[in-house]
């Protein structure tokens, strides 16, 4: 490992090391500037990644434009999630160093997964961040729901990890290597053992991406976890999983069945997610089901992989992450230290807390795919890819389910702005600076990507080659 390699891998090291440092600092000075410290680490990793465009490779890991893109993406979301969490956790009595430390660890894990060049590192990265999320989801010890959510996530997660591991094992068994590049190069007609492995890997990742039928944990976990955790879970972990899937999918590129499976997954996910969201009364569950549906569009992009689906999926996940951060972030702010969760309880909040309300509304419009929000460009990219790939039927289903989605997103907007607030507490907590920044970043990203997506699109074209 040369010095150059070290420099290239430094962001990962900063995050992992930062995690340890925060843990130790918490032990030394409990209640100190832990969040700020963690923020500094994430920011450092972010700046490093952007400032040093290096590529490097070592066994199992490789820093490529692709991984650097994801590093920026993940660190960005991590930054926002940390900003959100600092205030939220104080209000909810979540104290201690474990939160920022675990979060840093999760980021490191996700970064590793995106930079993986063999299946072992991929697996370790994925499981590392999932493991971190087991903790984060249940981090609120006083919350009944937090515990329940933790349990559900844990059991589902371990089962899917087993399935994923089995898939990797079968692939290894049939090909004798774990290196992604070698696996993708082999032109041998895929034998059943290999395909079974790929299929199991797909199911394992489907869990992380909340694809039907591996989606059932999503609403419960999103609802039970603290909102900033949900914000991170629904964005960064999805992003890392998309990256993982993009790394893995070339393995089955020649197999038509992979397409068919994804087709079925996309269809089921689109329909299930959007339909189930219709009947929700809890805003977090609604957003959870909507995130299931959003992953359906990502699946649609994967179906259209040969026709530019990769960059569509990447753009989609970025746009979705911005919206997810803004929406869960706004929920974290608007919940205001209470258990406010029913959509009904959001009546009139758009006026009582205009900035958070606006962020939520913009995010919802983005999720609904209405311009000028980024979600529109994302859907545009996905539908373009789908049509180019000849997936007209699926595109039409996507469009129609988007229509259904508009309805439930609007329900929240309606509650925010159009229903009278029925005499609740008058005092409004002003937005703290960190919350303001945490909401402003994704909201600005949504609008910027919605109006001028060119830079990102060009970048994606370059890295997805």
């Amino acid at each position: 490992m040369t010095k150059a390699d070290l420099m290239a891998f430094m962001p990962l090291i900063i995050l992992a090391g930062g995690s340890v440092v925060v843990l130790l600092a918490g032990a030394v000075r409990p209640g100190g500037w832990l969040y700020e410290l963690a923020l500094a680490f994430v920011a450092a990793a972010l700046v490093w990644t952007i400032a040093l465009p290096a590529t490097a490779a070592m066994p199992g890991l490789a820093v490529t434009p692709f991984s650097r893109f994801f590093a920026v993406f993940l660190d960005g979301t991590g930054l926002v999630a940390l900003l959100l969490a600092s205030g939220y956790n104080k209000r909810r009595g979540i104290v201690g160093e474990e939160y920022p430390a675990t979060l840093l660890f999760a980021l490191a894990g996700m970064g590793a997964a995106c930079a993986a060049s063999d299946l072992l590192m991929l697996f370790l990265g994925l499981e590392a961040f999932t493991f971190a999320f087991y903790i984060l989801v249940a981090v609120e010890r006083d919350s009944v729901r937090g515990g329940e959510a933790g349990l559900k996530y844990l059991l589902n997660g371990t089962l899917s990890a087993a399935i994923l591991a089995m898939g990797i094992a079968l692939v290894y068994c049939s090909r004798g290597t774990l290196k992604l590049a070698e696996l993708a190069l082999q032109a041998a007609p895929p034998e059943p053992l290999f395909l079974a492995g790929v299929c199991l890997v797909l199911v394992g990742l489907a869990f992380k991406l909340s694809w039907v039928p591996a989606h059932l944990w999503t609403p419960d976990v999103y609802q039970g976890a603290p909102a900033p955790v949900t914000a991170l879970l629904s964005t960064a972990s999805k992003g890392a999983s998309v990256a993982a899937l993009l790394l893995v999918l070339p393995l089955a590129a020649v197999w038509r069945g992979g397409h068919d499976i994804l087709w079925g997954l996309a269809l089921a996910t689109l329909v299930c997610g959007n339909m189930a969201a219709l009947v929700q009364s809890s805003i977090k569950r609604l957003l959870a089901w909507s995130s299931v549906a959003q992953m359906g569009y990502v699946a649609l992009a994967f179906v259209a992989l040969p026709a530019g689906g990769a960059r569509a999926a990447l753009f989609y996940i970025v746009a979705y992450a911005a919206a997810g951060l803004a929406s869960f972030g706004a929920v974290a702010v608007l919940a205001d230290g209470t258990d406010r969760d029913a959509i009904e309880q959001y009546r009139g909040l758009g006026y009582r807390n205009p900035l958070a309300g606006a962020a939520l509304a913009v995010a919802l419009f983005s999720l609904a795919g209405i311009p000028p929000a980024a979600g529109f460009m994302a859907k545009f990219a996905v539908f373009s890819a789908a049509l180019r790939a000849g997936e007209t039927a699926l595109a039409v289903v996507g469009v129609l389910s988007a229509l259904v989605a508009v309805f439930f997103y609007l329900r929240v907007v309606v509650a925010l702005y159009m229903r009278p607030a029925d005499g609740m507490e008058a005092a409004v907590r002003p937005l703290s600076i960190s919350e303001g920044v945490a909401l402003a970043i994704p909201t600005a990203a949504i609008l910027f990507l919605g109006l001028y997506p060119s830079p990102l699109l060009d970048l994606l074209i370059r890295i997805s080659r």
Binding site: K152, N156, S160, V212, P213, H215, D220, I261
Partner: protein, 628 residues
């Protein structure tokens, strides 16, 4: 000439706008003077135009509708026909405006009244002077609107407002046919200029000409209250009486006749159209005359008589006796305006009493009204040597000249109608003015201007025959000569002089017979008897009183179904049908949304099962793919 024509139109328009916009600010006297002044100014211009008239002129004042081949500029066309009508309109309307000054002296809404009256004149003149059909249509609809607004002038009473609405809608049904005819002619010739269209006759297939003619006839029937669209005119009497005189007797209602005459070179080439026009006119004349015999409202009698007289004119157009029809149009304008104005005097004097059975014996008390009124009645009844006698005879002569069973029948019908006309006219005169005064209505004072305006009209009505004396007197009629050069007006088939004299003798006899019949029934000793019998409503009178129950027929056939259909479509189709379906669809979607949501039971085993089932499905699929 341009300036005269422009002024003829602009003066009434400006007067109308002045009163409409500033009417509330101006003192009454100024407003009234403006209103009357502009009309007389227009008349003066018309006279000047007449003096300077050497031949038809076309004047383009500005552009209006101009899109590609569709060119309808604001262009006027002054020929003998439009010039004659313009003179008549400005003159009669001028008198009626003067009359209105007296009639409306106590009404606070005078500004609205005069504004509408002026705008009406503008629209009517536009109609007459228009060079192209869209512009004619502008006038046509404009007079319709003014008629609507003036019928419902006293809007607080629902009856009046409803009458206005009825008039507007009924005439618009005809207008629609007219509109279709216009666009059709545009499609055929690429032009909407009247002169151009009239020169196209030969190039258009006969069947098309027939259809066009029937459409125009329908348009004319609406405006001129011919069957089957006649129902609005009797109700239109709800408006102020000068309005009835101006709009519903002298000018607007004859617009249909004008239209048919104007377009005759085009549509007259179709035998069917001519027969249809003649039939419509003849039957309407008869129909309205029968109805007039039993009316007891003074203005309704006049309204039915108007319908009947216009029926004659239409009949005249149908047989190609265009000069005769125009002649009758002019004399009718004079004497019918006179009768309405006279009736207005009577009604005003009797404090808005319109029931003739509650009048009587007014001959002496309203002598200044009686004599002009009598003059008008003589004209209407076709009393020998009055204007109405000659003009009606010109039409009947035209019918007689046609020959054949159809026209023979129409001639007989026309003659019988003449008898009826004479009868109901004098019934009216005798019941109102003769006998003893019923009840305790004592006539109040009348503004002098109201009675004075009757005189010129009476003179014109009585002497109107001089305009166009019959050919057998040795020289060509003034009007015939004047109009003869217009396409379609010349070369009218003339009955031989002997026939014509015979016809006139018959007509005169019938007129006198009607007079005698009315005299014997409504004067002297039998008067009380007749009045009592009619007041209780003899059998069959209800049929005639209600205009053959045409209104009821329309209610049953059109209006009620329309109301129900409208409500049905709204409630059952729009709200229950379309919206109901969509709302149902939304509910169904929400229901279906419950399914995937119900899958999420909250038990962790369910989600584990989901994951496992994913594995199972995917592996089964794999096996299936591998095996097949």
């Amino acid at each position: 000439m341009n300036i005269y024509l422009a002024l003829i139109l602009l003066l009434p328009l400006l007067g109308g706008l002045c009163n409409a916009l500033l009417g509330r600010l101006l003192p009454r006297r100024v407003g009234v003077i403006v209103a009357c002044g502009v009309i007389w100014g227009a008349f003066a211009c018309a006279v000047l135009a007449f003096v300077g008239f050497t031949g038809p002129v076309r004047v383009e004042l500005g552009s209006w509708l101009a899109a590609f081949s569709f060119q309808a500029p604001i262009a006027l066309y002054l020929d003998q026909l439009s010039l004659g009508l313009t003179l008549m309109i400005t003159f009669v309307c001028g008198l009626i405006h003067l009359y209105s000054v007296g009639y409306m002296q106590d009404d606070p809404a005078w500004a609205r009244y005069f504004a509408l009256l002026n705008i009406f004149v503008f629209a009517m003149l536009t109609l007459v002077l228009a060079e192209n059909l869209p512009l004619l249509y502008l006038g046509w609809e404009g007079v319709g609107f003014c008629s609507y607004a003036l019928i419902g002038f006293w809007y607080t009473e629902e009856k009046n407002a409803t009458a206005g609405r009825k008039a507007f809608i009924t005439t618009r049904i005809g207008d629609t046919a007219f509109g279709i005819a216009i666009v059709w002619m545009y499609q055929l010739s690429g032009s909407v200029s009247i002169t151009h269209l009239n020169s196209m006759g030969a190039l258009i297939p006969a069947a098309v000409v027939t259809t066009l003619g029937l459409l125009l006839l329908a348009g004319a029937a609406g405006k001129s209250a011919q069957l089957p669209l006649s129902v609005w005119l009797p109700d239109a009497m709800a408006g102020p009486t000068p309005v009835s005189a101006q709009i519903h007797a002298a000018t607007m209602v004859t617009a249909g006749v004008y239209l048919l005459a104007r377009m005759f070179p085009l549509i007259g080439s179709s035998e069917t159209v001519r027969a249809a026009i003649a039939l419509t006119g003849g039957i309407t004349a008869f129909y309205a005359a029968t109805c007039a015999c039993c009316q007891r409202d003074l203005k309704r009698i006049l309204a039915y008589s108007t319908i009947s007289q216009i029926g004659y004119m239409v009949l005249g157009v149908g047989v190609g006796a265009l000069p005769g029809a125009t002649f009758h149009l002019l004399t009718h304008a004079f004497f019918k305006a006179l009768l309405f104005l006279g009736a207005g005097c009577v009604i005003t004097a009797l404090h808005h009493q319109q029931d003739i059975f509650r009048m009587g014996g007014l001959r002496t008390k309203l002598a200044a009204v009686y004599w002009p009124f009598l003059a008008g009645a003589l004209c209407l009844a076709g009393f020998p040597l009055t204007g109405g006698f000659f003009s009606k005879d010109a039409i009947l002569g035209g019918v007689a000249a046609q020959g054949g069973a159809l026209y023979g029948g129409l001639l007989l019908l026309g003659l019988f109608t003449a008898l009826l006309t004479s009868f109901y006219t004098f019934r009216m005169v005798f019941v109102v003015f003769h006998g003893e005064q019923e009840h305790s209505l004592s006539p109040g004072p009348l503004p002098q201007i109201m009675t004075l305006t009757l005189v010129p009209l009476a003179l014109l009505g009585l002497c109107g025959g001089l305009l166009n004396l019959p050919a057998y007197l040795g020289y060509e009629g003034v009007l015939d000569g004047f109009l003869g050069s217009i396409p379609g007006f010349g070369g009218v088939e003339q009955a031989s002089h002997a026939d014509e004299i015979a016809l006139q003798i018959v007509a005169a006899t019938l007129s006198l017979a009607g007079l005698g019949l009315a005299w014997s029934r409504y004067t002297g000793s039998r008067r009380a008897d007749a009045l009592a019998r009619e007041a209780t409503g003899p059998s069959g009178a209800g049929f005639l009183l209600n205009g053959w129950y045409l209104d009821n027929l329309y209610w049953a056939l059109v209006i009620n179904p329309f109301n129900h259909l409208a409500r049905f479509l709204w409630k059952r189709w729009d709200e229950a049908g379309i919206d109901g379906t969509l709302d149902g669809l939304a509910r169904l979607t929400a229901r279906l949304g419950g399914l995937p949501a119900a899958w999420s039971t909250g038990r962790v085993a369910t989600s584990l099962f989901g994951l496992a089932s994913g594995v199972a499905i995917i592996l089964v699929y794999l096996v299936w793919v591998t095996l097949s």
